[in-house]
Symmetry: C2
């Protein structure tokens, strides 16, 4: 794993932590400012442009029912200055019920999100066992 | 629209044409050879690596029930040597029932696919009206 992979996985974790804690400020900093952004929330039409995408996150993160989002089996594809992360999303300790594509690009020294797409899994995927030495 | 956008949209159309005509050879040429590839078919776990991804396409493209896949509202995000296309997928003349993320990278002078993710839309999206002068 390269240092870029590590930084991209950290950005991906930042996304799910901001999602789980309702932290709009962190979510807004994570999404790219210069590169174009889009978002496909589960089942919904595409959101295009930073203002539209961030408005959706403001609504999601301030709703009364807070979700604790977990990301399992994150896998990085690195393409120079951009990267795709695929992973499974779960609520709390439940099996994962969504598959996600998260795309990041480098802006300055930061990996920032430019696209998120989450869609349902036909069969939920169990949480992977904790890896020895990481707990 | 830049010449890159046009070439990326053409690669995206190649994907749906190969899908619709069961053209495995074209599909195999479209997917990247050097860059890492992944695929999230609707509802299914992630496929990682060219051999696994292409095996899935061989199965899909040789099945007896041929699908005629249409791609509506394709939208390009260009990030230098990579690009994300979002669009809606439909069968034949039906309203679109899937949202898709297609990621491409440049290999030599070709835009080649490195990731495909399709997931269901909660509400089908009607086919856009034909644009004047294009028919």
């Amino acid at each position: 794993m390269t240092s870029h992979d590590t930084a991209i996985l950290r950005a991906n974790e930042t996304f799910y932590r901001a999602f789980s804690t309702g932290d709009y400020a962190t979510m807004a900093r994570l999404w790219a400012e210069q590169a174009p952004v889009t978002c496909l929330h589960p089942g919904l039409p595409a959101l295009i442009g930073r203002e539209t995408v961030m408005q959706s996150w403001r609504q999601i993160l301030t709703q009364s029912t807070q979700l604790t989002m977990r990301c399992d089996h994150a896998h990085v594809q690195l393409f120079g200055e951009s990267a795709v992360v695929t992973c499974y999303e779960a609520n709390g300790d439940e099996p994962a019920h969504l598959a996600a594509t998260n795309v990041f690009v480098r802006e300055g020294d930061q990996w920032r999100m430019v696209h998120h797409h989450a869609g349902p899994l036909a069969r939920a995927i169990s949480r992977p066992p904790p890896r020895a030495g990481l707990n």
